[in-house]
Amino acid sequence: MKHVLQNHIVVPGPSRRRFYGHGIPNVDLDLLAGKLIVVEGADGSGRSTQIALLVDWLEGCGHATVQVGLKRSTLVSEELENAQKGNILSRTTLSLFYATDFADQLENMILPALKAGFVVLADRYIYTLMARDMVRGMDELWLNNLYGIALEPDAVFYLNVPPEELVQRSFAKNSALDYWESGMDLGLSRDMFDSFMKYQIMMQKTFRHLQATYGFTIVDGLRSADALNADLRKKIGAVLARK
């Protein structure tokens, strides 16, 4: 895809920063000069494709970028992966394990990068973690307190793709459905296809519920990758130009 390279580099203005709740101790929010952009959506909604395109565009525009995602912390990602394979963790434990992973990346990747003036692209954020826990019956107020450590992003885009399309994309890519993305641990159905559809509908409902609280932008993920990216670039351009 062709980018129109800009000769004029836009210098982003300051963000109005806040933590959702208690936040991280001893962080000076005024020093976080960079921008935090989150892309949310189910597996197969095109998140990684979109983020790769955004990195090219942002770097072309003169912005330094950093990418973060779930289960990528140096602290616990390996142990989390192992524990999940065995499906032996109970729900509060798994929830706190993911929160530890998130907190580690927040403190060791996201906050330092923002301090250094980078544009941080997050491949999912607390919303996926909260939605997964909520469909498994965890208390929303408990989750709000737990993830009160999170920084409010400058923009959150939710790539909306209906379950019928997600299932097709999953088969086209892997010829199989993922155990966790099908919510098989919930016992919704012994038929994996049924379980996948039911689970994804529950997740979408929960995201719509969270949207009311966190106000993220829902974008149509059924468009071509280029059309979708043009839309995201326009929206992110506005965030960067905001004074």
Binding site: G21, H22, I24, P25, N26, T74, L75, V76, E78, E79, L80, A83, I88, L89, S90, R91, T92, T93, S95, L96, F97, A99, T100, A103, D104, E107, W142, N145, L146, G148, I149
Partner: protein, 252 residues
């Protein structure tokens, strides 16, 4: 927050809290032995001991990777794993569960490290309160001396070095433990801690604990049901150690 008794669990949870070196582990061990030898259903669980989380915690501590927030969360993960997989099911089955440290350790330590108290308490609010909490109160210099006598090399997080209180680990440990003691004392009334004078002799403390426990619990309720052992036990020759412990279980 309610206790397990208030939640109508048949089991009871007994926790010990106090500074490192206050002698609480010794006392809970003796309590466990006493209960076991009476043929009661007893389970012991220690802070920071979940097999699943341990690998991550020890790696993180060795590499000094933890911040106050991740320190708090990784210990909460460990606690949740033990709570959901061991403590709750055993309490449902009518066990006496003995915990060497419970949520109050997190309330004290994490807050000293700078985490907001409401945040920490909110995270642990899935856990019920202990039915009895023994708090081992020793003079600060006594517990410091016990630790420093036995283990001259203080670990980084144990000494609170992450708080940058002092560049000297011993000085840092002193200040850190002093602050934790303040937190414990502030919680003492709110959570009905039963204070044990940890400056006393081991036997005297144990006598007090056994008496308090006998007053507050009807120990006969926790007796192991006498039923024949499953037949398949005979198939495998039991190792000598197991035979000894079998015999001990029968002592009344």
């Amino acid at each position: 927050m309610k206790t397990f008794a208030e939640l109508n669990f048949p089991g009871r949870l007994i926790a010990v809290e106090g500074l490192d070196g206050s002698g609480k582990s010794t006392q809970i061990h003796l309590l466990k032995r006493w209960l076991e030898l009476q043929g009661l259903k007893v389970y012991f669980s220690e802070w920071n001991s979940s097999e699943l989380v341990k690998a991550a915690t020890s790696k993180a501590k060795k590499r000094e990777l933890l911040t106050p927030t991740t320190f708090s969360l990784i210990h909460a993960t460990d606690f949740a794993d033990r709570y959901e997989r061991h403590l709750v099911p055993l309490l449902r089955a009518g066990y006496l569960v003995l915990c060497d440290r419970y949520i109050f350790t997190a309330f004290a330590r994490d807050v000293v490290r700078g985490c907001p108290p409401e945040w920490v308490r909110g995270i642990y609010n899935f856990a019920a309160l202990p039915d009895l909490t023994f708090f081992f109160k020793a003079d600060l210099h006594v517990s410091l001396q016990r630790i420093l006598d036995g283990r001259p090399l203080l670990k980084y997080f144990e000494a609170g070095m992450d708080l940058r209180l002092s560049t000297d680990p011993y000085e840092s440990f002193r200040i850190f433990q002093g602050r934790i003691l303040e937190q414990y004392l502030a919680m003492s009334t709110e959570f009905n801690f039963l204070g044990i004078d940890a400056n006393e002799l081991v036997e005297k403390q144990q006598a007090v604990i056994r008496e308090l426990l006998g007053q507050r619990l009807n120990l006969a309720d926790f007796r192991r049901a006498e039923r024949p052992l499953p037949a398949r036990r005979a198939e495998r020759p039991a190792p000598a150690m197991a035979l000894i412990s079998d015999r001990e279980e029968q002592v009344e």
